[in-house]
Amino acid sequence: MLWLAIHLPRLSLEAWAAALPPSQQAQPLALLQGQQILAANDAAAEAGVQPGMKRATALALAPMLLLGQADARRDREALQAVAHAALAFTPSVALEGSATVLLEVATSLRFFGGADALLARLRQALAPLGHCTRIARAPTALGAALLARWQGEADAAAASRQDRQDQQDRQGLQSAQDLAALQRALDAMPITLLDAAREHAPALQAMGLQRLADLRHLPRAGLARRFGQALLDEIDRARGTRPDPRKWLCAPEAFDARLELAARADRADQVLHAAARLLVRLVAWAQARQARVQAFELRMQHEPRHRADEATPTATLLRIELAEPAAELAQLQALLRERLARVQLAAPTLELRLHCHEWVQQPPPNTELFPTRQSERSGLVRLLERLRARLGNEQVLQLQTVADHRPERSVRTLPWGVQLADPPRPVPPPAPRPRPIWLLPTPAPLPERRAMPWFEGGPLQLLAGPERIESGWWDGGLAARDYFIAQAADGSLLWIYRARLPVADPLQPLWFLQGRFG
């Protein structure tokens, strides 16, 4: 068994800061639990704000401090996203505590080409989520978790000592190669890292017990009587002398995530940054399920008190469909950006929800070293998706020919990406007669003088025709026309017709322009 533990020492703070606009992320930030500071970022720590301080003290130290409230649900969702990213590497992923994800990777090593390569890939996959991570490797699950947490606490201590250099040095991986090495490392660990020991911390300290090794040398029966069996169990599980079954995590069938914005967003582009964070989670989920997203929905919930009237909708819903299923972050982000750019929010929004239940299970496409026809095709699909997201479905079109003799019905346009029911038969056209390239959908009437159709102040010369088209009595669009090819004064060719329907009104035009030969 080889376990990796990903510990997120700043999970709560980062989960809250994710919703802030990028310009505010460098400011001093701190998270409150009740009236006490729970966590502070580097800028705040530099001003002297430390976890455990009172709110008023912190504000006195750093007047520009931005404060947020801790939210266990938000933390849980952020941790879930990390677990989803981990699920792309092994099916055996479990959560440990409130800020640690465990992966059992012994079976995946061969596929990823060794532990180091896997770790590098894992770090790459975690990077877009934007969390500060501490990763440890050990033969037992709890052992790995404790090592990662220990490393995280040491960093926090280093940070509070303003000892940045030390922190930089500790970026590396905490690793115990075998059980003996793990047990040695655990012996040197402070007792307070154990969950079961936290409530007994004052008593343990009073007894002069600092390290795990001190505890291990005491009689087990006495320890169990004083501190409970749970403490002994935890140590045994960490040392690998007691089985430690875990409940594996499963990625849900449909993706659903929400994010509360830190500030009211009045325009759609203001939510882009926060929505991008949700997209990162969507991609992590898709990778966990080996899914490729077909369509997703972004719901921007409007604040009830900011809605102008009852007619204002309670939410703005953006639905983004992909021409071909995809799970690439950059592509989804580009689509979302184009769509958000042309959305008008009916009212300010404070909460975003991203939902996706339309996906397909598909292996990712092979990547190509050199541009090929396949890569050009996928590039074209992405380009058209972007155009469609910005311009709308009705602006990006494909042509389809219809077997109908009436010119205005012989061609129709469909939104691009709609699968044609039957692929158009290329040639031959309905009649082996020349047809103009440009068709006017509504024929333009032409005046008649001296029994000739006139166009732009001159008579038209009829060169070919008539070609009689009489069709459509069955669908109400009866056309009875004689078509001619005519030449205009400047030499260009027109396609005109004379209506053959009985005309009641003698003033009604007889001649119509149908198209031009381009």
């Binding site: 026809r373 050009e376 590039g379 074209l380 380009l383 058209l384 972007r386 155009l387 910005r390 311009l391 709308g392 602006q395 990006v396 079109l397 494909q398 042509l399 389809q400 020919t401 010119p407 012989s410 061609v411 346009t413 691009w416 692929p423 158009p424 290329p426 040639v427 031959p428 056209p429 309905p430 020349p434 047809r435 103009p436 390239i437 440009w438 068709l439 006017l440 959908p441 509504t442 333009a444 032409l446 005046p447 006139w454 166009f455 732009e456 010369q461 060169l463 070919a464 090819i485 205009a488 004064a489 400047d490 030499g491 260009s492 060719l493 322009l513 198209g515 031009r516 030969f517 381009g518």
Partner: protein, 288 residues
């Protein structure tokens, strides 16, 4: 003052000293009396007479080509069709931006184009389907944006864009820059009124109809010596042989009467709304 007969000496000395031929120095250099070369591939136009006049012997790639028409429907697509078919046969797609009317799919198929490899992008205010008598002073911003993105992506085989006469020069410059990433021909079809405005496109052609199934084509700007005479190209015939003969006879009679009138009409003020004339409804000067 003595008139020196040796004004040309420097250039002679330059050539005589065995210095490199400017054509060898850089593909963008050419002598003023020669046709320029094309650094990139060209797409043959399918008309030998036209290829002989174009720098590099065909439609340029990675650059804009501007075609100036008095109105749509002078034979412009039959002129471009051989090149477009060649692009599609290479497995690449066509994109048309804001065409002036609905293209007839049957005719395009008859010209050899594959409709499955054709995408049409139209402006928000509609294909001319809804607005037959549209006149636009400014090119719609979303079409220009889409055109630029398409050129920049380089995933499209050939691009045709119908633009109004008054496109702002910075927009054209952006398009020309974007076109450098576009490995294929890019045609801008503008109204003839655009003839008087400067353009960044290295190749500009003015088209006008010259009788049935014949197109008169004048090269307004190219990398090479200015061209003086108009080319007359025979297009893929629409008419039967005897109809064409009839057209010729009539055209000869009519041409003598109205030759001056049409020539004025191409660049005259009335041409500013020329694209509206596809349906014969000129807003400023109603023909009915």
């Amino acid at each position: 003052m003595t008139h020196s007969p040796n004004l040309l000496v420097p250039s002679d000395r330059f050539a005589g000293a065995g210095a490199a031929d400017p054509l060898q120095l850089h593909p963008a250099l050419w002598r003023a009396h020669q046709l320029g070369q094309q650094r990139d591939d060209v797409v043959p136009s399918g008309f030998a007479a036209l290829d002989a006049e174009l720098p590099g012997g065909g439609w340029p790639t990675r650059a804009l080509t501007e075609l100036l028409l008095p109105h749509p429907g002078v034979g412009e697509l039959r002129l471009l069709a051989p090149a477009l078919v060649a692009v599609q046969q290479g497995g690449r797609s066509l994109m048309w931006f804001d065409p002036p009317a609905l293209p007839c799919g049957w005719t395009l198929s008859a010209l050899g184009l594959d409709l499955r490899q054709l995408v049409i992008v139209r402006a928000r205010d509609g294909l001319a389907a809804q607005h037959p008598a549209r006149t636009r002073l400014q090119a719609p911003a979303d079409v220009l944006w889409a055109l630029e993105q398409t050129l920049r992506s380089g995933h499209v085989g050939a691009v045709l864009a119908w633009l109004p006469a008054h496109v702002r020069l910075p927009s054209l410059r952006r398009l020309q820059l974007a076109a450098q990433a576009h490995d294929g021909p890019a045609f801008l079809l503008c109204e003839a009124a655009a003839l008087v405005r400067p353009s960044v496109a290295p190749l500009r052609l003015a088209l006008s109809p010259a009788g049935a199934d014949t197109l008169a084509l004048r090269i307004v700007k190219r990398r090479g010596p200015p061209s003086t005479t108009a080319l007359h190209l025979e297009l893929m015939p629409t008419l039967s042989a005897q109809a064409r003969a009839r057209a010729r006879a009539q055209a000869g009679r009519v041409a003598r009467q109205i030759a001056g009138e049409t020539a004025a009409g191409v660049v005259g003020p009335a041409a500013s709304s020329a694209f509206a004339r596809i349906s014969g409804r000129t807003p400023s000067r109603s023909s009915t």
